[in-house]
Amino acid sequence: MVVVVGAGATGLGVAWDLSLRGIAVTVIEQGDIAHGTSGRFHGLLHSGARYAVRDPDAARECIEENRILRRIAAGAIESVGGYFVKTPASPDDYGARWLAAMDAVGIPVEPVSREALRTAVPELHPDVKGGYWVPDGVIHGFPLLFRLQKAIEARGGRVQHHTRLVEVAVDHGSVCRVRVSSASGSEWIACDALVNAAGPWAGKVSELFDDPLTMRLSRGLMIIFAERKTAHVVNRLAPPGDGDILVPHDRVTIWGTTDEPTASPAADPPQRSETQKLLSLGRDLFPSMEQWRALRAFSGVRPLYQPESAADPRHITRDFTVIDHGRRGGPAGVVSVVGGKWVTFRLMAEKAADAVTAYLGLGATSATAETPLPPLPTPGEDARTPWLCECEQVGERDLAAWPGATLAEWRTRTWFSMGPCQGTFCLHRVANRRIAATNLAALDAEEVALREEREQGMQGALWGDNAREWALSQAVRRQTLGERT
């Protein structure tokens, strides 16, 4: 039995890969599924174009995985394509270098005239100078993770969330069991191998056994706009920098990002000064961006890793590393997988699973590249109940598809409270569907937590109409509903 720490893309990917190889797995996750970076990313299915010049290995992996994901995760991928746009500020020589690198890596690219660009993305600045089309896409991270979870469970694997790994026991140099702790106490789980896929916490997890990793964590900031402002991904044609990608994500648009070293694996909430700066970086691409209706801002922490590297996190590789701790003097049977991108999670998982399989002396090989992930069951239509969350059209049936879920779990699984009102008009309605399964005090606490989470995100992007939305939500909460916290 293999214990995997972390229910992000990588951890669930490893567990899925091992499950397909016929190996029993248990995934341990301290929060909910997608608690870490996998729930806090930009949503971009990279084509690799962004890394072609500086990081060709990462770029190559991106384009390969990009193709594989479209095959195995249809439904969670939007094949919208992306543009690299030349602005008056784009360095003159960069285009040529970039094209050569794209060619070397093998990423398809097509030139696009200024007029065609402006037709495809009408919000673009009139001064843009044309650009290139690349096969970027969009990943719907949450549904994809829930699909992985269900697929793992269907093969007998276990995913334990709200459970922390707190101790690793080693017997004769090999990992033999781990202690985990949750609200219901702590327990020991025997295991033949341990995979550390704890993302930004991978360094912390590695301190539990005798081979610490030095992570190069980097925090990135994103702003969500309330409406789909572009039908395609838009990148600035320039060396990767801050504020240069706009990603349409279903009904919203996400603008990002920044890259700043951090010591904390938990993503610190954005400060308004930071988001304002990020927003202002968009002017040369999207002149009206400051008038777009902001919804919220959030940040994520990249679990980067590069033992000997430059100070600027932009220069740290986006490639990933699989560390077989037994081979470098740590406990045998422990494998860490760090670095990488969401897009490359499957490949990372495959390589980590290869290391585990080799350690266990089994011959099975990865089947994830050929095995489509089963879709989530769609809740039945029911024309006779009202929407509870009107922004995102979530009804009773959607909630019923996740029996026993908490409010927070319903949020990421049904998408309720994620739209323009940020829960102002729907939280109490959904809470009413939960009262039968819990008690009032616990439910109050869940409501307060969800309110806080929503408000924190709104505060990071509190300007214009979003500030008015915030004021409306304060009035509804305190005056109409009589909430005091």
Partner: protein, 411 residues
Amino acid sequence: MAHSDACLKCTICIAACPVYRKDGEFPGPKALGPEWHRRHLAGTGDLMDHVDDCTFCQLCEGACPVGVPVAHLIAEHKAAALPKQTWPMRVRDTVLTHPEWVARAPVLTRATALVPISRWLKLSTRSQRPSVRKAPRLSRSSRRAAVGGGRPRVALFVDCFDRGFDTEAMLAAQALMEVFGFEVHQVPRTSQCCGAAAYASGRVAQARRQAGAMEQAIRGELRGDEVALITLNATCQGTIGEEWSKFLGLNDLPVPVIPFHVFALQHAPAGFWSTVAAANVDPGSWTWTHTTCRGRRRGDGALFQLARRAGMDQVEPLDLECCGAAGSYAFKAEHAETAHDIGQPAAAQIHGRPGVIWVDSGTCAVHLEQLAGRTARHPAYWLWQAWLTSQSASATPPAPAGHGEPRDGGS
């Protein structure tokens, strides 16, 4: 569209929508407008039933605190639903969205008096067809101008309804403005539509074409020295004054576009008012004023003021935000009932009292007359009647004592 993403979900638009308050099946502006549009952009905006039940009164849009172009998003929604229309409806809407054809040959409307034709075309058999009110020649003497030569000039916009059915109102407005001391010329010379009817029916592309052609015509006919372009129909006023530049991609006209009654309040000389007021046209009778829904985009109350200034005895605004006529809306069979229900409170309010209705749109006048059983006409018409009365009165005995302000106006 700017601000299409601004929606706060506050529901104020719902509370402003007359259809929502009559028709339980109508999902309301928030659902049909911004919420649909947000999904539509993401490619998941399935068309909703009842989108065509929106009157395009734009009261929702006027109420929205963050400037979401709610009604215009609904028009986009209607446009997306157009391919679903059945043939007879398409034929009907083609006619209804070309009021300039009807204006050229108002007798056309007689054909629809034949019930089978109406049924096939899904025209309401309930709502009255407008009757044609051709103006008698206006006597020169009553049009004497106040000021001498070199008078300022205004252009009078001739809308389809007045061209086809109510030249009386049109000539009354012209004559009055001459009395106020202006030189008046009518535009456009040929019958054309500003695009309002098509836009309301979701034919956005057609509206753009019609508006473009009309704009060309008007620009060609303006002489460049007009003080204003005066409208007699609140809907056309809104379309030309606002929608042309905001939603139909046209440039603003080089002159301000102003409703007749607002212009009258600003420019009629004080003596004019004292003269009409002194004539005390119809003592004991009520004057109800109704600013049509589209007129409300500028606010209401000006009509009420006008009637009071003109010395009408007892003036009362109708408690209606929209009468339900909404251009050609009430003429469509599927809307007849809603249109009727929306306007119904007018009848209750009038409740047997004698009087007339002043209303700034011809189609609303037809609808209100039918609902309330009181003559409903454009304020220019009523004002002109008052002026004529005052003239014939002042020809014999002088104005009654107590109204002895100097007449610097039109006598």
